[in-house]
Symmetry: C2
Subunit: 320 residues, 2 copies
C-alpha cells in the first residue's frame, strides 16, 4: 500500500539567489540550500548546479520517493505552462525557458511554477499576515519589484498567466523616466527596488554638496542597505532617498487601489528593512493620492515572515 509522500520542494528563484527548501505538510522547512542565480550563463548550467545543491538535501530526507512534488517561484514564471518567459533580471531568462518540464524530467516528480511574487503571496496567505484576507496585494521589494495579487481569495493569473507585473507600471512618464530591463522607461522597479534605491542615492549625491555618510563609499558600490544604515543614523541625504522612494510607491499604491481596492498591501523583501523610514512616506503619499472613498482604508503592512522562508514556503504551497 502506497503511503502519502511527506515532503515537497520549494524554490525561491530570485535575481540574486536561488533558495531551495524541503518542506513538510505543516510548513516546517527541513532542509535549506542556496546557489547564486547570476553565476551561471545558461539555464542548463544553472539547472545542473541546482540539482547538485538538491541532491544531498533530498538524501537527508530519505530520497526522492519521500517527495511529492516541487513548487517554484521565479521572475516571469508562468503558472499555466511552466515556462519562464523573457525574464529581464535573469541572465539566462531572455527567451523561453522550459523550467517545470526540465525539473520534472530530472527529478521524476511533478514541478509547478509561478511568478516569484505570486509565490510570496501564497506564502502570506497560508502562513503569514494575509491568513484571514480575501483581497490583498503583496509587493516584493528586492533586486526588482514584483507583485502577487489576490482577489476573492484567489491568485490573479490573468488570461496568459502573467498578471501582477506591478513593478513595470510606469511611475515616471516621459523622457526623464529611468531605463528598465523590460525595455520601457520609468517603471516603478527602476525607482523602488533595492537597485533603484542605490541608483537614487548616486543621483542625489551627484546633484548636491550636502555632507553624507554615503560619501565615504564609492558611488558604484552603494547598496540599499548602506542607505538604510545611514538613514538609521540620521543621515539627511539617506532619509531624503527613502522619502523619495516611499512617496513614489505610495502614489502608485493609490492607483492600484482604484483597480482592485484591496484590504491590505503587504511589503516583502530586503528594502522593508528600512522600516518606518520607508513605510511612513508610503502611507503619507497613499492617503494624499487616494480618492475620498478610499482614504485611510487599506492597511499598509510589512510581511512578518522571514524573507527567504516566506518565498520558499509560498513556492512549496504550490506543490501540495
Amino acid at each position: 500500500m502506497a503511503t502519502e509522500k511527506p515532503y515537497v520542494i520549494g524554490l525561491d528563484l530570485g535575481g540574486t539567489n536561488s533558495v531551495f527548501g524541503i518542506v513538510d505538510a505543516e510548513g516546517k522547512i527541513l532542509e535549506l540550500g542556496k546557489i547564486k542565480t547570476g553565476a551561471y550563463e545558461t539555464f542548463n548550467e544553472w539547472l545542473d548546479a541546482s540539482l547538485e545543491c538538491l541532491k544531498p538535501m533530498i538524501e537527508k530526507v530519505g530520497g526522492i520517493n519521500n517527495i511529492k512534488a516541487m513548487g517554484a517561484g521565479a521572475p516571469n514564471g508562468n503558472f499555466y505552462n511552466g515556462t519562464i518567459e523573457f525574464a529581464p533580471n535573469l541572465k539566462w531568462g531572455k527567451g523561453l525557458v522550459p523550467f517545470a518540464k526540465a525539473f520534472s524530467e530530472k527529478l521524476g516528480i511533478p514541478c509547478y511554477l509561478t511568478n516569484d511574487a505570486n509565490a510570496a503571496a501564497l506564502g502570506e496567505m497560508k502562513y503569514g499576515t494575509a491568513r484571514a484576507m480575501k483581497d490583498f496585494i503583496v509587493i516584493t521589494l528586492g533586486t526588482g519589484v514584483g507583485s502577487g495579487i489576490v482577489i476573492n481569495g484567489k491568485m490573479v493569473y490573468g488570461c496568459d498567466g502573467f498578471a501582477g507585473e506591478l513593478g513595470h507600471v510606469i511611475a515616471v512618464r516621459g523622457k526623464n523616466g529611468r531605463q528598465c530591463g523590460c525595455g520601457a522607461t520609468g517603471c516603478l522597479e527602476t525607482y523602488c527596488s533595492a537597485t533603484g534605491v542605490a541608483r537614487t542615492a548616486r543621483e542625489i549625491l551627484k546633484k548636491s554638496d550636502e555632507p553624507s555618510l554615503l560619501r565615504k563609499l564609492k558611488p558604484e558600490e552603494i547598496t540599499s542597505l548602506d542607505v538604510s544604515i545611514a538613514a538609521g543614523k540620521g543621515d539627511k541625504i539617506a532619509k531624503e532617498i527613502f522619502q523619495f522612494t516611499g512617496t513614489l510607491l505610495g502614489e502608485m499604491l493609490a492607483d492600484f487601489t482604484k483597480f482592485s481596492s484591496p484590504e491590505a498591501y503587504i511589503f516583502f523583501g530586503g528594502l522593508t528593512k528600512a522600516g518606518d523610514l520607508l513605510m511612513n512616506p508610503i502611507k503619507e503619499a497613499y492617503d494624499k493620492n487616494c480618492m475620498p472613498i478610499f482614504k485611510g482604508k487599506a492597511k499598509i503592512l510589512v510581511s512578518e515572515l522571514p524573507d527567504a522562508d516566506a518565498a520558499v514556503l509560498g513556492a512549496s504551497a504550490l506543490a501540495w
Copy 2:
C-alpha cells in the same frame, strides 16, 4: 400557488440621464423611460421623479406584482451595502445616499445596486462581446470614465465594493494635471471622457492658429460629438484631439494589463462613436507601452450593444 414573477427593472443612472427599463428573463426590454439626472437638486426630488417615470411603465406590464426586483448601475454605487457614496458627477451624490433601501421601500421589491460601469460589464458578459470571456475590462467613455473589471469570470468589487475606478487612475502626474471632480489632478477621466475631449479641444484651439471646423463653434459649447464630426470630415485639429486622447488611453491600458492581464478591453459609451479615429491611437500606444510578454495579446474592442440598452440590461442582470 405563487408563480415566478416574469420581469425585473433595470436602471442605468448616468451623470446626464437616468434610464429605466423593464426587462424579461430573455433580456428583452419591454418598457423604457428616462429622466434627466442633473435636473434635480436632492436625491429625494430625483427619487420622486424616478417613481413618477416608473409608474406608467409598471402599470403597462401588469403592476408591481409582476416585477421580481430592481437592479441599478450608478456612479460610486456600492454593491455590498446598496448606497451611492461620494459620487462627484451627481449633484445630489456628494454624501452617502441610501439608494437601494429607498427604492426597496417605495416599490416594495428588493433593489440591488452596483457601479454603472460594473453594470455595463455584466451586460457585456450576459448579452455582449464578452460572453465567452473570463478576464476582461469594460471601460465606459461617457460624461466620466468608468470601468468594470471581470477576473476569473467574476466581477471585482474589492474589499469595500469600490474596485474598478480606473477613470481616476492618474494619467498626468504633477502640477500640469487637470483638476478632477474627485479632488485629485490628472485623472484619466479629465482627459478621456466626453467632457475631457471637449476640454482638450478648447486647449488645442487656444494654443494654435491652425484653421479648424471647430472654430465655427463657441469654445464653451464644443462637445465630443462636434469633434467626432469634424474629424470625420478630415479636420486636422479634430484628428489631433483624438490622437492625443487615444494615446493617453492606450498608455494607461498598457499599465492595466500589468495588473490583471485581461483577454480583452471593451470600450463602451458615447466617445466610441469616433471609431478608428480613437481606436487606432489606443492600439498603437498600447503596443508601444506594453512589456514584450504582453505585446499584441489583449483584444481592444468596441461594445456591440447599443449604449443605453447594455447598461439597462446589465443593471437588470443584477436583479435576477
